[in-house]
Structure formats: structure tokens, C-alpha cells
Symmetry: C2
Subunit: 367 residues, 2 copies
């Protein structure tokens, strides 16, 4: 297969290194603004060169971000090229439109690497969704926040110190907002829920409460109760409604979740017949992510179509029916309150608007 590779960042360069080891995927044309004199492949700075080249059957989009990734991917699909992408922001935001485009043009759109890094998570979800009724997806879907929370728990140190350390180690970006406020996890949750439940929910419907408000005191309070805090994305399907949010949750120190440390991901599904399944591994990183991208390429080569279905139920996100017990701290005052997810996140929004110190975390059954 001839591949048009868009982007040569962390994942792009890892993909290139892996792909050229295989004769089937070594014929690569690279699109990058910068020329790489150490590479032997054809290179261009103009996407039109790739689009116009009819011998290129598959475009691998590893630029990230919405633009120009959206324009590149949609025109590639329209030109009858398969697309593999790891771009969670793009696929989460433009899911419906891109699948329709892929179907119209009888090509594949695969994005296993868009959630869970190297874990075959979306791929497994799609496989199971055909056979069983998946009723929930949940877990640690963001490695940056898990690294920070693990370090705070182990060392008793403050959030800001650990964020800086995460940035130094390359686990957090210079602007950490998407990770620490839960938006990154939210995108992965939306993708997961849409594939698992056969629905079409949107990022904007899913409330996110992140970890930027957590203090060493909160962690100490959880420790006294035998609890560990993790940032969890969870979506549950009940009938024609989906409850979905991103929020800190508390797990017993003696359970499985408490032992997932550092930048790892642990993601679970529950299905009516298969029961609960858990997947754990590196949720980010160049090579881990690139391996899922390359595996998607091989599957396209073998004739596997897109694993996203366009027949999806119209459902809305409704967090008013799911009640949880929350640890709530406003200023120095901590309390325990039982609320719906909708009420809890409305309260969090209010404190955020008023710029008052606030943190909350939901008690979890180990899940």
C-alpha cells in the first residue's frame, strides 16, 4: 500500500520508523512543512501533491488539532483514499460527517489510536458492539492527570509542583488545559461511547470537571478514608439515554484502580452478556500510539472496512438520573453530599464562574 503520511511529530516519526520496517507499508510520501534530510522517502510541503497522487491509497493523518486536519482528511476521503488517524479532537468533533464521507466514497476511516494510545480499545469496542449490548464504558483515559494524581498521592505534594514535574518529563504539555480540565478524556469518552453504544453524543453535552483545583489537603483527607483519587471518564447507557461525564472519583486503596499509577490508562467496558472487561497499558507515547495506527493500516490492507457504523440511535446525554455520593470542598470546608451528576457539575460550574476554590470527587464502586 502507498501511504501519504501527514505530520512528523512524536507519533508521526514513530509511525515512520515502524512502517518502513515492513515492505507492505514502507512506500511513504511525507507531508511536512520542514524537509527532513535524514529520511529517504518522498517529501512534500504541499498536501495537493498527496491528494493528486492516485497511487496513494491511504492517508495517515498525524498532525493533530482541528485545522487543517479536517480539510486534509475530508478531501482525502472524497478522493477515495482510506484514512487512518490518531486525532481524537478531529474524530470526536466531526464523527458523523467523516463516517458519512467514508461510506459515500467506499473507503475506510479508522482511528483506533485516538483513544487509549497503544491499547486496542476502540477496536475491541467496535468488535464487541456488533455482538453484545455494551452498557458502560469508563476508566482512566488520560495519562497526564493520572501521573499527577499518582505523584500527589505518593509524595503528599501539591498539584502545581507535580504539574511542573509532569511538564519536565514530557507527560504534560506547556498548556496543560486540555489534560487537566478533562477535555482530552472527554473526547476519548465521546468516541468510546459512540462506538460502544451505537449513538452520537457530542463533546459539548458532556460535563467535565478536572483536577486543577485539587490540593494536598484533599489527597490527605482521601488517604485517611482509605481512598485514592483518579480522574475518570464514564458513560452509562440506560434505555435511550446516556449518562456521561468526566470527574475525579475515589477508589478503595485495596482495589484494582488504586494500583494504576503513572501515565498508564485503565479502561473498562461492561456488556450484558460478556460482563466486565478491562484493558490497561500506555495510553500515550509515540510508539504505543503509532502501533495502533500501523495496525489499522494493516487491517485496511487486508480488506477490513471501517468499523464505525452510520446507523446510530439519536440519544441525548442526561445526567439527571445518575445519583452518586460526592466529596465536596468549597474553600476549606469539606463535606459529603449525595447528588445527581447533573447537580454536582452545575455546582462545580457555579464555583468556577465565581472563581472560588472548589473541588469535588465522586465515590465509586470499584469499576
Amino acid at each position: 500500500m502507498k501511504i501519504g503520511l501527514l505530520g512528523y511529530g512524536t507519533v508521526g516519526s514513530a509511525f515512520y520508523a515502524m512502517a518502513i520496517e515492513h515492505p507492505e507499508t514502507s512506500d511513504i510520501t511525507l507531508l511536512d512543512l520542514k524537509r527532513h534530510d535524514d529520511l529517504t522517502c518522498r517529501q512534500t510541503a504541499d498536501f495537493q501533491d498527496i491528494l493528486r497522487d492516485e497511487s496513494i491509497g491511504t492517508v495517515v493523518e498525524l498532525i493533530g488539532g482541528l485545522h487543517p486536519a479536517y480539510e486534509f482528511v475530508s478531501s482525502a476521503l472524497k478522493s477515495g483514499k482510506h484514512v487512518v488517524t490518531a486525532n481524537k479532537q478531529l474524530v470526536s468533533a466531526c464523527y458523523d460527517e467523516l463516517i458519512a464521507l467514508a461510506e459515500e466514497n467506499s473507503v475506510s476511516l479508522r482511528c483506533t489510536a485516538a483513544a487509549g494510545g497503544g491499547i486496542p480499545w476502540l477496536h475491541s469496542l467496535a468488535r464487541l458492539a456488533e455482538c453484545d449490548r455494551i452498557t458502560s464504558v469508563s476508566g482512566i483515559m488520560n495519562g497526564t492527570t493520572n501521573y499527577i494524581l499518582s505523584a500527589m498521592t505518593e509524595q503528599g505534594t501539591e498539584y502545581a509542583d507535580n504539574l511542573r514535574e509532569a511538564q519536565r518529563l514530557g507527560y504534560a504539555e506547556a498548556d496543560p488545559t486540555a489534560d487537566v480540565e478533562g477535555y482530552d478524556a472527554c473526547r476519548k469518552l465521546v468516541l468510546s461511547a459512540n462506538i460502544a453504544f451505537g449513538v452520537s453524543i457530542r463533546e459539548a453535552e458532556v460535563p467535565c470537571f478536572g483536577i486543577s483545583g485539587i490540593t494536598a489537603q484533599d489527597i490527605a483527607a482521601f488517604k485517611r478514608l482509605g481512598l485514592v483519587c483518579k480522574l475518570i471518564a464514564h458513560a452509562d447507557r440506560a434505555g435511550d439515554q446516556v449518562a456521561a461525564c468526566v470527574e475525579p472519583m475515589l477508589f478503595p486503596v485495596s482495589g484494582q484502580m488504586a494500583h494504576v499509577n503513572g501515565p498508564d490508562n485503565l479502561i473498562s467496558l461492561h456488556a450484558e452478556r460478556v460482563g466486565t472487561q478491562r484493558f490497561a497499558g500506555a495510553g500515550a507515547g509515540g510508539f504505543a500510539t503509532a502501533s495502533n495506527v500501523l495496525a489499522d493500516c494493516f487491517e485496511i490492507m487486508r480488506g477490513c472496512g471501517a468499523f464505525y457504523t452510520s446507523r446510530r440511535d439519536a440519544v441525548s446525554v442526561n445526567n439527571a438520573a445518575l445519583t452518586q455520593r460526592y466529596y465536596v470542598r468549597a474553600g476549606e470546608e469539606a463535606a459529603s453530599r449525595t447528588m445527581t451528576v447533573a447537580e454536582a457539575h452545575a455546582m462545580a460550574d457555579q464555583f468556577k464562574k465565581e472563581r472560588k476554590p472548589f473541588f469535588m470527587a465522586a465515590a465509586s464502586e470499584e469499576r
Copy 2:
């Protein structure tokens, strides 16, 4: 697709119930010695009826055991029919021959359900093996023994009592040998290693030491050391050699492995670039297993070929290079000894021959 379903036991009937819910897989001809008047599908007691019916493109073999499953599967492949099977005994023993047959006849042979029950384990291994170099596979691959060991650890009770309880609950068969002596886990390990490493090792080369010799006293001794005992199948590739065995291993009570209880499986792989990935879920049960069988059918329908490669390296199992620390108890006498896996299993064989009470378990780094 028209399906010839062989067998209507626990997995067969679960498969039938799931398959008829989907228009694509509801056209089923059932082979069973007994007629089921409650079923609406075509039924026959003669395999030739299925073999001769050219409209049946896929045979789903859920009889189990070597014969007549071997004869049915090989003649189905020779007749140009795809085969999906959950039969670990068959696929582990006749791996090379059946793949060659499938290739010669340009059909698929898929067996995701043969290891890990409902977990997409072999499927994920095959997917990753194409992209990365997998260096180890290991884990709890047998639910029966994990149920027994969990119960002994929780209740402090004896092996025989828990085996009876497992039989009563349907977790163990009337003849529990294959489970408790590790042969079942061994078959799954051989399959996993062959797919993961691209090799062709055989059951007979892999030493198995099971749990039938464990006592409540052993468990109590482990508890005092903060350890939990699990029956682990593990295979490690180093160069052109593979170390592989099934044996009890000891894990810290504070780690992840210690928290996998009851009949669940937890299976891990390590690959050079992707790192460690873990998969957990129901490793047996009719519906869990049937879901992987049905997913394999859908993949055949979509044109995905067999995921087993016939290009495999000739390697031998060598357990002389892997040294571990073992808890060893002969009679009442317990000690700790550092030995190679080969030495430990030779010692175990000797005690078995002499019919002397003996138990051993290897200390594990959490893996």
C-alpha cells in the same frame, strides 16, 4: 453468511442465541446428535450434510476435544469453508497443519475464543504481532484454578473442599485434571506464544505444574509473607529461544494480580515498543466465549483473512536460562530455593513420580 454450527453445548447454545439475533448470521444449520424441537433452524445428525451443502460458507466448531473435531474442521477447510472454533485443544495440537490447510484453500481459520473466553486476547496479540516485537505473554489463563485459589486465600480452607464447591458452581468439570494440573492453561499459552512470537512451540515441550498439591498451610505461609498464589502461564522470548511453563506464582498482596479473584482471567503482553498491556475479564462461560466466536464470524464476513501466519520461526522451548526464586515444600518441609525453571519442573516431576506430597510456587515480579 450461511453457518454450519457443530455442537450445542454451553458455548454452542449461547452462540446460537446470539447469532440468530443478527440477520447476517441467523441462517444456521445445526449438527447435533440430539434433535432440538425448540429450535427453528435446520438440523442434522450427519456432518456430511453440512460438508456437502455448498451454500454453507462458514463452519463454527463448538464440539470441543480432538475427535471428531479435527476431522470435521480439516474436511471443512478442504471443502473451501471458513472455520471459526473455540477449541483450544484442537488448535493448540494441530495449529501448523490447520493453518496450512486454510491457506491452501484460501479460507480463514479463526479461534479468538480459544484463549481468554470473551477477552479479545488472541485477536489483539495477532494485531500487535504484525507491528511490534512481543517479548512475553503471561497471566491467569484458567478461571477454575483462580476460583479455587481465591477461595482458599479468602477462607483459609483446603483444596479439596474448594474444588468440590467449584464443581458444584459449574466452574470445574467432573474430571478437573485439565484445569487443576495446568494443561488447559498450557494450551492457551502455546496458542498465545505461537501467535505473539511467530513461532511454533508444542504443548509437550511446556512443563506444567498445577495446584492439586497445594494445602491450606501453604496459603497460610504465603499470607504471612504478604503474598498471594496464582496459577500463571508464562512464555518469554529471548533471541531464538522461548522459555515457557505453567506454574503457581506468588504476588504481593498490594499489587494488581492479587486483586484478580474468582473465575476471571488477567492476561498480559509485553512488547518492545508498546510496553506492557493487560487484558482482564471472564475467561470462560457460554456467552463470553460465544461473543468472540460471533465476532470472528463477522470479521470473516467483512473479508478479514485468517490472522495466523504460516511464516513462523523454528524455535525450541528452553527453560534452562530462566532463573527464579521458588517456594518449595516437600512433605511438611518448606524452603526457598533459587533454580532455573527447568530444574524446578524436573524436581516437581520427580516428586510426582514418587507420589510424594510436594508443592512449589515461583516468586514473581508483578507482571
